[in-house]
Amino acid sequence: MPRTPLEPRFQVEYLSILDAEGNLDASLEPKLPAGDLKRIYRAMLLGRRLDERMVRLQRQGRIGTFAPIKGQEASQLGSVYTLRPTDWMVPSFRETAAMLWRGWPIEKMLLFFAGYLEGGQPAPDQRDLPICIPVATQVPHAVGLAYAAQYRNEDSVVMVYFGDGATSEGDFHEALNFAGVWHVPVVFVCQNNQWAISVPLKKQTHSRTIAQKALAYGIPGVQVDGNDVLAVYTAAREAVERARAGDGPTLIECVTYRLGVHTTADDPTKYRSNEEVAEWERKDPLTRFVAYLRKKRLLDEGLEQEVDAEIAAGVARFEATAAADPLAMFDHIYAELPPDLKVQREMLAERLRKGETGPRRPPEPSPPMRGQRSGQR
């Protein structure tokens, strides 16, 4: 009767297969087809190179502020690779590499960050939600999609991405709690990149891991080395299979690091040391995967050039896009435009005819998904 520890005691596992030094735990090595290993690496490289290119485009003012992914390629590809086209992918705002894998064309990504809503339009058959900016608000959408899949007796699985900071939001909590009660096929992928803009994890939550937050919802939680694409893949595959088998949701914490700026409007030197960054650069997910593939003789020559050419072509298509027609802002408000909006549209058309106003890039400096630094600074 007295003080009884409740059994079973709760437990969270940490999974790592390929460490920063390239050491492999062969007993856990997943059996992935050579072709897939190559495709995964190519996608990671594409993400890395496009990221670098986008930073330049932003500096040139050709796109607005965006959130680079450098350092998180393994977390994204190791997880998204486990999805089928009929599964759903629900991104936050830092999943460029995963979104490209899911079929988003480069030019759409660029259009999005150039302020064109067209960049947020998924293909008609594509089961991806557009980029979601309000932190954690997409998580309940993923749970709803998973409920609908179950309701329709389809075996599709939903994978949703969010950051460590997102776990502090009420929406994260409510969504995981619903998922636990409903036992729906959803995989929660937290890219714990150690920072929420300038706020380090220890200021974000007092819990030792993000994974253990799963215990609050009675669902499995696992922590993986997010820079180890094999470990991420292994954890994600387990979670996706569990979901598809009807055994409910899983929370995966990918321990990774944002090697670059939070967004192109951010100055990380204000809040973190170069030593810390250097420390994590040694754990670069690409480096260790390259070492692994080299041992397996799976590294193709000229891959970089190939990837850069693909990026160049995408940028060219983006540059070729016509200036945005302002009237299109009335196209997708309601299924049918109400009378007053028809009038507003007509008045804008009138002004455009008179040349009173029109689409041109305002003079202001290019600012922020999360703020802009003082020009003075």
Partner: protein, 326 residues
């Protein structure tokens, strides 16, 4: 035809739409086994089971957030927020997402969602159980905002809202739930969202009201007719947004005078847009400023003092006389 109160009429709309379309489901706190705290979803769980009539955990943001996900998938969730006073907990999901996914995805997705909420006062309830928040939803582009005034139009508008491909916030006045019974046809019927109705023709003054305040407007009109020989034209707004300016302007162009009555606080309330819109469209016909009779700009004062806050017929009559004498 059966004589139903608003609760039963709404229940009928839900039942028939769920029978008609397997994608329609109901979700909210206590909407299943309990049948909803006002019994609007009574017995639906018996008929359709707990997968289609979902007793959700206690979290408004997730009720709307997960319903948005279901809607994106192609289902048609009808959400119940137990009281409109608790809908601010999910306001971000409504404003950030329900109202925007069509635009954000450029038509690839849309959100056929209905968000039902009991609203309004005069029912001896506590804080957060007596307010009128229609203004907050009316100002959000991408949403529609509907408020029925009786059993028959409640049933027809809810049916239309469920079939509408876009998100509809649907307010149900607590005071009307059991107030009056009306003949409601057995076969389902709809009312067009976005259309106001002239429920009484008149020559001297246009009274504009909706939901629980329609009764008040009618009462006032009777007094004005009896005591002042004044005939009022009464417009039942039914849809707050998108606002049916055409009907409002046509009426005031005829009467030259208008009075809006609502339960929401006066300042920056729905009456302001209605007054401003009528001024835009009927300025030269206006013989007096458009009067607004509304609750005071105070937080809910407790139901012991509510009578002095929520507009009643006497206040409407007094304000109408000023407008007529202007």
């Amino acid at each position: 035809m059966a004589k139903l109160n608003m609760v039963k009429a709404l229940n009928l709309a839900l039942l028939q739409e769920m029978e008609r379309d397997a994608d329609v489901l109901v979700i909210g706190e206590d909407v299943g086994v309990d049948g909803g705290v006002f019994r609007v979803t009574e017995d639906l769980h018996r008929t359709f089971g707990s997968k289609r009539v979902i007793d959700s955990p206690l979290a408004e943001a997730a009720i709307i957030g997960t319903s948005i996900g279901m809607a994106l998938y192609g289902l048609r969730p009808v959400c119940e927020i137990q009281f409109s006073g608790f809908a601010f907990q999910c306001f971000h999901q409504i404003e950030n997402h329900a109202a925007r996914y069509r635009t954000r995805s450029q038509g690839r997705f849309h959100v056929p969602l209905v968000i039902r909420m009991p609203y309004g006062g005069g029912v001896r309830a506590l804080e957060h159980h007596s307010e009128s928040e229609e203004q907050f939803y009316a100002h959000i582009p991408g949403l529609k905002m509907v408020v029925p005034s009786g059993p028959r139009n409640a049933r027809a508008l809810l049916t239309a809202a469920i079939r509408d491909p876009d998100p509809v916030v649907f307010f149900e006045h607590k005071g009307l739930y059991h107030a009056a019974k009306e003949e409601v046809p057995d076969e389902s019927e709809t009312l067009e969202i976005g259309r106001a109705q002239v429920v009484q023709e008149g020559a001297d003054l246009t009274l504009i009201a909706w939901g629980g305040m329609l009764r008040t407007a009618r009462e006032a009109a009777e007094t004005l007719q009896a005591e002042d020989g004044v005939t009022c034209e009464i417009v039942d707004l039914l849809t707050i947004a998108p606002l049916d300016r055409e009907t409002l302007v046509r009426s005031v162009a005829k009467t030259g005078r208008a009075l809006v009555v609502h339960e929401a606080p006066r300042s920056f309330g729905p009456g302001a847009e209605i007054a401003a819109s009528i001024m835009d469209g009927a300025f030269l016909s206006l013989e007096a400023p458009i009067a607004r009779v509304a609750a005071h700009d105070v937080p809910f004062p407790g139901f012991a003092r509510e009578k002095g806050n929520v507009p009643d017929a006497a206040r409407v009559v007094a304000a109408a006389r000023e407008t007529l004498a202007f």
